[in-house]
Amino acid sequence: MSGTFLKVMINSLLVVNTVLVVFVCNMVFSLNRKVEALGTVATKSDLIAMAAPSIELASEGQCTRCHTARRFAGVPLDEEHRSALLRQHARTGNVPDSEIEKIRASLTIFGYGQYLTRDMLQRMALMTDGERMEVLLGIPEMTLEQARKVLTSYKMLLRL
């Protein structure tokens, strides 16, 4: 009977083996797919590294090319003046239109420079919108509407 016993054992092990092979192949394929998808997701340090220069660019890199930081900081920051100045920039300063929006956004942020320091801005890069709103609403005399505008400006600057 040992011949038959062996035969049965081998056959049943064959079946189990086939199942295992199917399973392992399936797992390998799905893992491969997941790993490939991972490549397009940035790590936290990537985000910080990319966010910082972006904010710098809009606030300091471009502007101080043409005028000093002191002149820049002295700009009156109410809407009317700001719009007029920006139109002037568009006409005379060879500043492309896309940059105008960024300048507007960075001026908005600059208005709260006392509270939104560089450090704060970088930390806000990793927060959710809810957390960012919490930070903004913590600024004295900030209204809900104004906070929403600041948030939009900030997100524009963050765009990579």
Binding site: T4, K7, V8, N11, S12, L14, V15, V16, V19, V22
Partner: protein
């Protein structure tokens, strides 16, 4: 021609004694359950409302009674006449299986006394899987009783009643199936459709366009197959609604298909198993030739079931659960290897499948595989993620064993007092089959 006889073998007395003890103990514990509530005799709790009784008595019980519909389909629908001797034992097993399933259900239900409410039209609930299961089982049990009646009528030697039975059964079946269809849909259109189909078929037979099967009306057999397919798969559908609780290794939209396939697979296995065991118990010669022929179908059915299971788990991306360190993963592999791979190998090996011992183990393992699958789906695979856990209490085992013992004792009684087993001239003339046959030959 073959004639049926009443088994007169000397059944082992020790076995009978054990069964009676189990039955009496079971009855005593059941009394306690009815007097003091389910909490006193089970470990069931609010997080695990279903346990051993649902998993074993009900789910497995119904699966194992599938021998009835598979064999009658092969015999009467496909017309394979050589399986005739196996028909009545299969029907008896199925009928007793369902009767004792109803008893076990009554014990498990909290308010079993009002079970009949399910049949009142104003309580009909078509979206509920359990509604369909209840109706299906009730109708099928009626069909099974009708299928077994010829044995009874033969015992009391009433050929006049037999003729009455032959005439009236098709009418009863048409009425039952129409009522059943209406209950499942509340739609007069569907009920009318099936009514027309069945009546037309009867007329076709009466006119001779389609040969009529005698003495068993084919409509009875068809109703049995139909209702069996419906509720075997619905028992699987019961668990569709818990994707969040049933482990991903088992939960799939294909659950009803898997339950149906495994029921079809275990039908022949139960017939083979029952044939061999009853031969040993009643000291008859097992119909080895027939059983071997029947057993040839089992490896094919197991393969189909296995392919569906494996591909389904792989496609759904649930394979990682099979390699987790959890009791569910372990039971999954047990189900696959001991429950499917091993019986497949056993019964696919001709040297093994020809012998009595090989058939015994092959069919037993197939049955065990279905049992493990049902328990996995209903109890082991259910993860409620609360602080409670469940493992069956001793009294649960005692009541389940009592129910099984009751079924076996009833089977023995009926087989001894009613014509169920056949001898045939062909069987006597056949050469002694290989493999040991227990005991002396009966009259």
């Amino acid at each position: 021609m073959s004639e049926t006889f009443i088994a007169k073998g000397k059944p082992r007395l020790l076995g009978q004694f054990v069964l009676w003890v189990l039955l009496l103990v079971g009855v005593a514990v059941t009394l306690k359950r009815f007097l003091f509530g389910l909490g006193s005799t089970t470990n069931l709790n609010d997080s695990y409302p279903w346990g051993l009784w649902i998993g074993f008595d009900i789910l497995t019980g119904i699966a194992l009674a599938a021998g009835g519909f598979t064999l009658t389909a092969a015999l009467y629908l496909w017309g394979n006449k050589k399986y005739h001797p196996l028909a009545r034992p299969a029907i008896l097993t199925a009928m007793l299986g369902y009767i004792f399933f109803v008893i076990a259900l009554f014990i498990d239900l909290g308010r079993g006394l009002v079970m009949w409410r399910m049949f009142l039209p104003w309580n009909w609930q078509h979206e509920s899987v359990m509604f369909e299961v209840g109706w299906c089982v009730a109708t099928y049990l009626t069909i099974l009783i009708f299928e077994f009646l010829p044995s009874v009528l033969e015992r009391f030697k009433r050929p006049d009643l037999m003729r009455l039975w032959e005439t009236f059964t098709p009418l009863v079946v048409v009425a039952l199936i129409t009522l059943f269809t209406y209950a499942m849909t509340s739609s007069a259109r569907w009920a009318a459709t099936i009514l027309i189909i069945t009546v037309l078929f009867e007329l076709l037979q009466a006119s001779g366009a389609v040969p009529r099967s005698r003495p068993v009306p084919i409509l009875l057999i068809m109703a049995g197959v139909l209702l069996s397919c419906l509720h075997q798969s619905s028992l699987g559908s019961l668990f569709l609604i818990v994707p969040h609780k049933l482990n991903a290794l088992w939960h799939t939209p294909l659950l009803p298909i898997e339950f149906l396939l495994s029921a079809i697979m275990v039908g022949p296995a139960m017939v083979v198993f029952e044939g061999i065991v009853s031969a040993r118990v009643f000291r008859r010669r097992p119909e080895l030739e027939l059983l071997t022929g029947l057993a040839k179908a089992i490896p094919i059915l197991i393969s189909i079931y296995l392919v569906v299971r494996v591909v389904d788990v792989a496609v759904r991306g649930a394979v990682f659960h099979a390699f987790a360190l959890s009791p569910q993963a372990v039971m999954f592999w047990v189900e696959l290897s001991i429950g499917s791979a091993l019986p497949l190998a056993l019964l696919a090996t001709p040297e093994v499948a020809r012998t009595e011992r090989g058939l015994f183990w092959g069919s037993l393992l197939t049955v065990a595989g279905v049992l493990i699958h049902r328990l996995n789906v209903s109890v082991i695979g259910i993860e409620a993620h609360t602080w409670q856990s469940y493992s069956p209490a001793v009294s649960e085992y005692l009541i389940s064993l009592g129910v099984v013992a009751g079924g076996l004792l009833a089977f023995r009684y009926i087989v001894v007092h009613f014509p169920v087993y056949e001898t045939s001239a062909r069987l006597e003339a056949a050469p002694r089959p290989a493999g040991r046959v227990g005991g002396t030959q009966t009259a």
